[in-house]
Amino acid sequence: MRLVVVGNGMAGSRLVSEVRTRDPHMKITVFGAEERRPYNRILLSNVLAGSARPDQVRLVDPGWYEAHGVEAVFGDPVAHIDRETRHVVTRGGRREPYDLLALATGSDAIVPPIPGVERAVPFRTLDDCERIMRAAEQARAAVVIGGGLLGIEAARGLAGRGLPVTLLHLAGHLMERQLDVEAGQVLGETLTGLGVGIRTGVSASAVEADGVRLDDGELIPADLVVLACGVRPVTGLAADAGLEVRRGIVVDDELRTDDPSIFAIGECAEHDGTVYGLVAPAWEQATVAAEVITGGKALYRGSRLVTRLKAKSVELAAMGETQLGEEQAEVVRFSHRARGTYRKLVIKDGRLVGAILLGESDAVGTLTQLFDRGGPVPGDRAGLLFPGLAAAPVADSPTLMPDAATVCRCNNVTKGQIRACWEAGARDVDGVAAATRATTGCGTCRDAVEGIVGWLCEQEGISV
């Protein structure tokens, strides 16, 4: 069996390792358009922000391909698929036969067709990232075009490097696909506080030498312009080969295209009408495809989307259908804009179908898992939004504690026993310890025992 994988990014490289884990012998060849070994694109905004080291993004060790019997070709992208003879042909003219072919061609950054756009740097690859970082060293002001997830992370990263940044966004509020209006506004306010100027509802008409010109003629000065205007699936190869392509390459639940010997995964694939632009679905697809490719059974049923912003001092998680109103769903909301806090739960039929958490919150892990698993939402919604609210500690002052309460866990001694011991004449902790063994284990109840003895003495007017 010969497997050829086209694309060696997040999805392709994951597929290769998943297949190799399952089948140590299958012949695997992977073609990557970039000269680099696979790296973790998700971490690029961390690299830009300085919270990940460039050597931390490497997904594959130098010796891995040889050690695992995988042939990896870098910088020679596949240009043509010959389905008749089951070969791929690279731009460099290499022909490689396949029995099974997997397309993981990803997507390209969208570059808006405006004059001077070549002066701007798209933010997509590690090369782009390094270019932006180099430019940022010299720059006096930056503009980021696009207020989606990536644009915000880039803007926050540049601001963190001490550069004045303006973020331009076409829609009325930031991350309009993931956030409702208020959340988008709170996020904008938080970013403003961190040195990112926010301009929403604006459109860039040109990139000029000294800045970005808006539709209304205003010039936003900048000597570094970063593009984060979204991505477009790379489907040309598949379309040329006659495979069914809509927005992405159409695949079934086994991630097969309409040619059963050809699979597609990741951002280039369209499953059940959806093209996913996040890594988690791409990796879920890689796992299913690897299982199928190696003769196993697995089905991909779509992914739940959780968007988690990675930007210093901006905590944001958004998942599912966040924009439903009260008439369509049960909505629980807490907003405290002065503190940059906004929390929203969207519940339908007793299940969490959407949520927004803006501002640091201990609830984020619990809510993400509740959303992922689709389990029933607990009746206590407030406890879900504010963990620890229900668990306010009961005052364990000696006066309020019932006699049956255990004071010393290590030796199972109750307040009643301590009282009895005091009544029998013990007037200090050592006396109580000798009689009941309280405090002789881990010792953390010593203060409590002292408090009880002191209180009993006080009650009886005995000075100690």
């Binding site: 998700i42 931390q56 997904l59 594959v60 607990p378 290590c410 063994r437 010792g443 953390t444």
Partner: protein
């Protein structure tokens, strides 16, 4: 009064016995200085005079003379061996046995029975940490530093260790440092914590990867240490590229900001320790989980550094010594590997046999129990210091396997649930009635002294082993001191070298740390300060990847089950469930549920609930507490029941079963 040690956990608190069975704490043993004990320790004497004591050998339930029982067993063993070969007879030991017994038992299996089928319940205990430590450091000495070092630390991270419940006097060593506790439950230990990370059961490995990812990204790695004292960091860094904190948050449920807080505290500390316990270790990926925590410790420059380090909080009384002296399927005395020709030659020399006569590695504990009574498996089992009907995973299945044996022989001092199934039960001495050494969680070899005369009719395990060996044509020592002398010679030159340790030294020096290669050697409290035990002296980073639990929750079994301990009971409860004050403190098994889960399942506190998994069913009383995650139920395993549910999926390296996570359904019992 006789100075000795507690019969229970690996802390081995010093205590004095006498007059009679009265117990008072010792103040000279660092583990429980200044003289602390938990309720288990204080009441340990009650079993010495308890009416449930076994004092007569039982053959098919009937009291018989010792010789009758011994002859019967020896004849049956010989017959089964003659018909089916030596591996048809198996031996199963325990981590509570003294070093002398563990040594003698392993030798008995290999020499007198000639079987490779010997393992012990420690496989269910510290085996994952042991495997990970050997991989990283070249040697496993649980905590490679004295316990008293912890008090000087700034930060201590406890990953899956609930010491406030399992070994309360340990907590006194944690009064100084800030505690970071990793536990799906807000356990009594987590309540003492400065920071509590509450991961989904089965995701500690992901958490550890996320922590190290943050340490690297935030520039907190001790590069100088990594360069000077380790190898393999590059591969680990690559393996970590897929474990950025936000991804880890989704898997573990632990918020990124809390992970970051933990890493920063550890990195900022002048002196810091990372300790793992069963919570991190008892998984089908336990070895890799511990490895991930060790990788974090190495990246921060902790192990082998004065005042810092990594350690495993060993559980059973002689959990450390029990894994060193040859009752383990793959080991020979001195923590030697059974497939190492030099090790075999040395031990064969001490035993007076040819190296080739030592059998090779045998089945690991669960695999051994699982094979009992099958066509390829052992047909006879000798059981010492263990109660697998309660303590093994998939316990009903294990009971069925045990029931299919042609011969089951146990040594016990009370009628444990497993002894009740035995063809022959030998009544044996308990701790205060015998002398022997125990190696505590620090690697400190301690002396347990005989304080009381055993009841008439009772013999020590060493006597039973020697009597059976004699009937099979071999001479074994029965005097503990002489057995220890032989152990010293057998261990000489091995990683766990006891050759310089004597009973006198232990008594005079309040214990001696191994390795101790000569009587002039002071012992080794901190073995890694100069070099690690690999030939190049460096510690090894080992790249590991997280994967899901062997059994994840689904529509049929929608709740995670985790199992653990309560303060009042020890292990299978065979001892502690017979002590009145402990039974009063914790009378019955229970299921702990979050109020939200309980509401959803219409369960109230005190209701009897039925918990079922793919392997069995169990009933217990509901306790409602917000100390547990909403998706998780907790059951203590000291009673029959919890382990009917647990999953015997095994770690590929340590062969540890997945006790700490499986999927269950919880219902009110109508």
């Amino acid at each position: 009064m006789t100075a000795t040690h507690c019969p229970y956990c690996a802390l081995q608190c010093g205590m004095k016995i006498g007059p009679g069975p009265a117990i008072t704490p010792r103040t000279d043993i660092p583990a429980n200085a200044p003289g602390s004990l938990c309720q288990k320790g204080w009441t340990a004497g009650e079993l010495l005079t308890n009416g449930e004591r076994l004092t007569t050998p039982l053959l098919h339930g009937e009291p018989v003379e010792w010789d009758v029982a011994l002859d019967y067993v020896a004849e049956r063993l010989s017959a089964i061996r003659a018909e089916h070969g030596p591996d048809a007879v198996a031996v199963f030991g325990g981590g509570g046995l003294t070093n002398e017994k563990a040594y003698s038992l392993g030798k008995f299996a290999r020499v007198a029975l000639g079987t490779s089928q010997v393992d012990y319940n420690g496989r269910f205990c510290m085996s994952s940490a042991a495997a990970a430590s050997i991989r990283a450091f070249g040697m496993d000495r649980g905590m490679p530093f004295p316990i008293t070092d912890l008090a000087e630390a700034d930060v201590v991270m406890l990953a899956g260790a609930n010491v406030a419940e399992t070994m309360p006097p340990f907590v006194r060593h944690l009064n100084g440092p800030r505690l970071i506790v990793v536990d799906p439950r807000r356990s009594p230990t987590a309540r003492l914590a400065w920071l509590h990370l509450q991961p989904t059961p089965g995701t500690d490995l992901a958490l550890a990867l996320g922590l190290l990812h943050i340490a690297i990204g935030d520039g907190l790695v001790d590069e100088e240490y990594v360069a000077a004292r380790t190898t393999g960091f590059d591969e680990v860094r690559t393996a970590l590229a897929s474990w950025w904190p936000e991804r880890v948050e989704r898997i573990t449920g632990v918020p990124v900001h809390k992970m970051r807080q933990a890493v920063r505290a550890l990195a900022a500390a002048e002196r810091a320790y990372i300790l793992t316990g069963r919570g991190a270790e008892q998984h089908a990926k336990g070895t890799d989980t511990v490895t991930a925590f060790i990788n974090l410790a190495l990246a921060l420059g902790l192990p082998g550094t004065e005042g810092s380090g990594y350690g495993c909080v060993t559980g059973q009384g002689n959990g450390q010594g029990g894994r060193e002296h040859g009752q383990k399927a793959d080991q020979l005395p001195g923590y030697r590997k059974i497939d190492d020709p030099a090790a075999r030659a040395h031990v064969a020399g001490v035993w007076g046999i040819a190296p080739d006569d030592i059998p090779g590695p045998g089945r690991s504990a669960y695999e051994l129990l699982d094979a009992l009574g099958t066509p390829e498996g052992p047909r006879a089992l000798l059981l010492f210091g263990s109660n697998p009907v309660i303590s093994a995973p998939a316990a009903e299945h294990v009971a069925e396997r045990i029931g299919s044996l042609e011969l089951l022989v146990t040594c016990d001092f009370v009628m444990s649930e497993t002894a009740a199934l035995a063809d022959v039960v030998f009544p044996v001495t308990q701790w205060a009635e015998e002398t022997g050494t125990m190696t505590n969680l620090e690697g400190r070899v301690l002396l347990r002294r005989r304080a009381l005369t055993p009841p008439p009719g009772v013999r020590s395990d060493l006597d039973v082993i020697a009597a059976l060996a004699a009937r099979l044509g071999h001479t074994f020592e029965t005097e503990p001191a002489k057995v220890f002398d032989e152990l010293r010679r057998a261990s000489a030159g091995g990683p766990a070298d006891y050759s310089g340790i004597t009973y006198e030294r232990i008594a005079n020096e309040t214990g001696v740390f191994w390795p101790c290669p000569s009587e002039e050697h002071p012992g080794t409290p901190r073995p890694f300060l100069d070099r690690f035990a690999h030939p190049d002296g460096r510690a090894r980073f080992v790249p590991v990847q997280h994967r899901a639990a062997a059994e994840e929750i689904d529509d049929d079994y929608p709740v995670y089950l985790s199992t653990g301990r309560v303060l009042s009971h020890y292990q299978s409860g065979a001892q502690t469930r017979r002590i009145a004050p402990l039974v009063e403190a914790a009378p019955e098994p229970y299921v702990e549920l979050h109020p939200d889960l309980a509401e959803q399942l219409d369960i109230a506190a005190g209701d009897v609930v039925r918990v079922s998994s793919r392997r069995g069913e169990s009933k217990a009383v509901a306790r409602i507490s917000d100390a547990i995650r909403r998706d998780t139920a907790f059951m203590p395993f000291h009673w029959e029941g919890a382990n009917r549910l647990t999953n015997p999926a095994l770690d590929p390296v340590s062969r540890m079963p997945e006790f700490k996570v499986c999927a269950v359904r919880v219902e009110r019992d109508s």
